[in-house]
């Protein structure tokens, strides 16, 4: 290193080890190289980190399924497959629901028919019992009792009368009463008043007023009693038990049965009573 003659710098030492200028420069250079070294080491570390990161990413890519160029992504295909499966299951579900509804309707139909048959069965039982009772005796009092029992126990009548036609006088005379005394009944004439008119017509009448208030002129039901086409009396019901809510099919059948059979049962019993011991043996009928 050189320096112009005659000029000195107060900041420069005279010997190498003692020259302050050189010392400063040396320190600067040392510092420069140190920092460069540190920077280089830092770069090496960053390089190492990045290489490691690249290896990680490569490993991740390797683990994924192979995808050929131009093909769809596997997730989209799987999704479409799933949608297709769902549609199939929906259709299957609809088919099953439809079948279920059909079976349910069939069951309801069977249940309805079963109830209908049960109802028929019970109606027939009622009719059988009523008919059997009516024709099981030739005793007038027993028949009167049977008619009353049918009306009370099988039909649910609370106030009623069984009237027989006195054809000579044109009067309807009480044969049996329930819930009302005979004396309470006014004289009923054929063709007069509501009851008399219905009996004269020969056709039953149902008013639909089942639970009163009691009015002798406004019965709930009037059913003429007949032997063939001839009217011989009537059953008049004014009121039913409070638990009875309406007239059902079986009630109509029972009234029809009484209309057709009560009178003939009464007539048979009446004839039997008149003939007493003169009743011919039944085998005589074989010669008719």
């Amino acid at each position: 290193m050189s320096q112009p003659e005659g000029k000195s710098s107060p900041n420069v030492a005279d010997a190498e080890g003692s020259n302050p200028f050189l010392t400063t420069k040396k320190e600067f250079i040392q510092s420069f190289f140190k920092r460069a070294s540190e920077f280089t080491e830092e770069l090496l570390r960053e390089n190492e980190r990045l290489r490691f990161r690249i290896l990680e990413l490569e490993a991740q890519v390797t683990q994924r399924p192979a995808v050929s160029e131009g093909s769809e992504t596997p997730s989209a295909a799987a999704l479409r497959e799933l949608v297709k499966r769902i549609e199939e299951l929906e259709q299957e579900r609809e088919r099953l629901l439809s079948r279920f509804r059909s079976v349910q309707a069939e069951n309801a139909d069977f249940e309805h028919r079963y109830k209908e048959i049960e109802r028929e069965n019970n109606s027939l039982a009622n009719l059988y019992v009523a008919s059997f009772q009516l024709h099981a005796t030739l005793d007038l009092r027993e028949i009167r009792q049977v008619i009353s029992e049918i009306l009370i126990n099988l039909i649910g009548a609370k106030i009623f009368a069984v009237l027989l036609l006195d054809e000579q006088r044109g009067l309807l005379r009480p044969f049996a009463t329930y819930g009302i005394d005979r004396e309470q009944l006014p004289q009923l004439k054929l063709g007069e008043g509501r009851i008399g008119q219905v009996v004269a017509s020969g056709l039953p009448e149902i008013s639909g007023a089942y639970h009163g208030p009691f009015n002798i002129e406004h019965p709930a039901i009037v059913t003429p009693l007949r032997i063939k086409d001839r009217v011989v009396g009537a059953i008049v019901v004014w009121e039913f038990f409070r638990q009875k809510t309406g007239i059902e099919d079986v009630d109509h059948e029972l009234f029809n049965l009484l209309a057709a059979h009560a009178a003939s049962a009464l007539l048979g019993a009446r004839l039997s009573m008149e003939m007493r011991d003169q009743v011919p043996p039944l085998w005589v009928a074989a010669d008719l």
């Binding site: 049960e118 019970n122 039982a125 059988y128 049918i150 126990n153 039909i155 649910g156 038990f241």
Partner: protein, 111 residues
């Protein structure tokens, strides 16, 4: 209308029916025999149905037999009275065979 009751009971498998004319007759028939259930009307001669229920419930041998009342009396007070005396079921007339069958099965635990 015993016949209708008998018909209804005949629909319950395994039941044999013994009939009685009134409460006194029923007690005679109940004595010394085994019965599973009693069906009775309220309105009966000599001893009515409610007295029969009372007597059955007082009898150590008979008191556990279920009793069904079948009656024309459809009022709540009549029903309560019968049930308070010890009746197990209360059926009002007109007699409906399915109702009788249902109550008999219920009380006998028959499905």
């Amino acid at each position: 209308m015993r016949q209708l009751i008998v018909y209804a009971l005949s629909r319950v498998r395994g039941l044999n029916v013994v009939e009685a004319d009134d409460g006194v007759d029923a007690l005679k028939k109940l004595a010394g025999s085994h019965f599973d259930i009693i069906l009775t009307d309220i309105n009966m001669p000599i001893m009515d149905g409610l007295k029969l229920v009372k007597r059955v419930r007082e009898d150590a041998q008979l008191k556990s037999i279920p009793i069904i009342i079948i009656t024309t009396e459809g009022g709540d007070e009549d029903r309560q009275r019968a049930l308070a005396l010890g009746a197990n079921a209360y059926i009002t007339k007109p007699i409906q065979a399915p109702q009788v069958i249902m109550q008999v099965k219920r009380l006998l635990g028959i499905p």
